[in-house]
Subunit: 256 residues, 2 copies
Amino acid sequence: MQKPVILVTNDDGIMAPGIRNLISFMLEIGEVVVVAPDKGQSGMGHAVTITEPLRLEKIAVNGDHQEFSCSGTPVDCVKLAVNKVLHRKPDILVSGINHGSNASINVIYSGTMSAAIEGAMEGIPSVGFSLLDYRLNADFLPARKYIQQIVRSVLKHGLPKGNCLNVNIPAVQEHEIKGIRVCRQANANWVEEFDHRKDPRGKDYYWLTGKFQLHEDMDETDEWALANQYISLVPIQYDFTAHKLISQLKDWNFNA
Amino acid sequence: MQKPVILVTNDDGIMAPGIRNLISFMLEIGEVVVVAPDKGQSGMGHAVTITEPLRLEKIAVNGDHQEFSCSGTPVDCVKLAVNKVLHRKPDILVSGINHGSNASINVIYSGTMSAAIEGAMEGIPSVGFSLLDYRLNADFLPARKYIQQIVRSVLKHGLPKGNCLNVNIPAVQEHEIKGIRVCRQANANWVEEFDHRKDPRGKDYYWLTGKFQLHEDMDETDEWALANQYISLVPIQYDFTAHKLISQLKDWNFNA
């Protein structure tokens, strides 16, 4: 049987330990093509680069394992990979492993998940993986067998068009992980706080900081799963329409 | 009665004709506070600035009309406006008027709509406006009465928590606009094409281009409305969960 072609990207940059681990996990499953940002792109959301040209640098080509770094965002990487590197759709796209959570509302700010969503838009079965540990020396190994299981399941079953998966992994020892929990995105937001400082020339500047605020405590959510040492798996779609609101807005009688 | 406080932002930058028009339309309705990017931020999606500090520059303060430019993304502008300029939630947030469509799948790449979605996350009734004309000399005046009508309606009715509106306006004469149509986001995607060039030093680079590809032709969609000279109004939510897929994924028996 032919090996599956696995496209790997991330938002922490091609040298981040998270993607290096993901590449090693994927080499045990298929042929790996990496197209990832040449620098950290955290918090880029679904940004694309339209005012600057993009660069694509061949890093390594070695049998079943090719790597390219790209000057753009995670979404740019996916577009370039499909169009200019693979010249076809890969069998699966995996993004990550992100250093830090992309559960709940973080999905909207996340470059890792935007790459997966972009994959879904292009009809590629796609999964974003994140570990709840921001540190450079985070331990990704406890997640290995679960990540491989999820990738093998997606390769076997496929995913419906327009959907991808958001997988978050608690930062615990392997024997402490209770399993994989299919769930929904928890309702939460970030309460902003800005760290207001003055530069050496006396001018104001601000660092964005914030506190994550959860609005519910239900056991069907990703935040509940993670807090209880499960790996959370949320199926994702990108229709932003609030369908339930349509009839209510029609009652506003705009054209009366 | 006290005038409503209207927060205005955009993604084309504070000097763009689109926002200058929106500001003038809003000054006829309420007290206007502008916090907008100091440069174009198109295609930034829901990006936030976390690796650089943010600058906020007072441009004009004049009774009912204050303006600040911000070095960050549209989402940064909303966060800074609420926390460091207004020190409260405005009565409404309006974003735009974008030069170019944010209908259909464009919503996910759009800085204009990300600002509105960020507003919704913070509990502010928020509306993004876009005109289907990329040109600097686009004519925003035909949209004036409709934009004011929508803003007054939202101020009157409010919007449910977690929702905002995505309003797109066809680039036609005022008498050609058939009215406002409440509808859903059309199913479409961008088929990428990269313009591949060589720089003066012989190195490859790529410009992202693409063709918009519509997957349906239904009269309840924003693309249909716009093609038929209606202003499209799509209610937006930001729960990415594909709820219908949850039971199907549970059948994969990850923990068997």
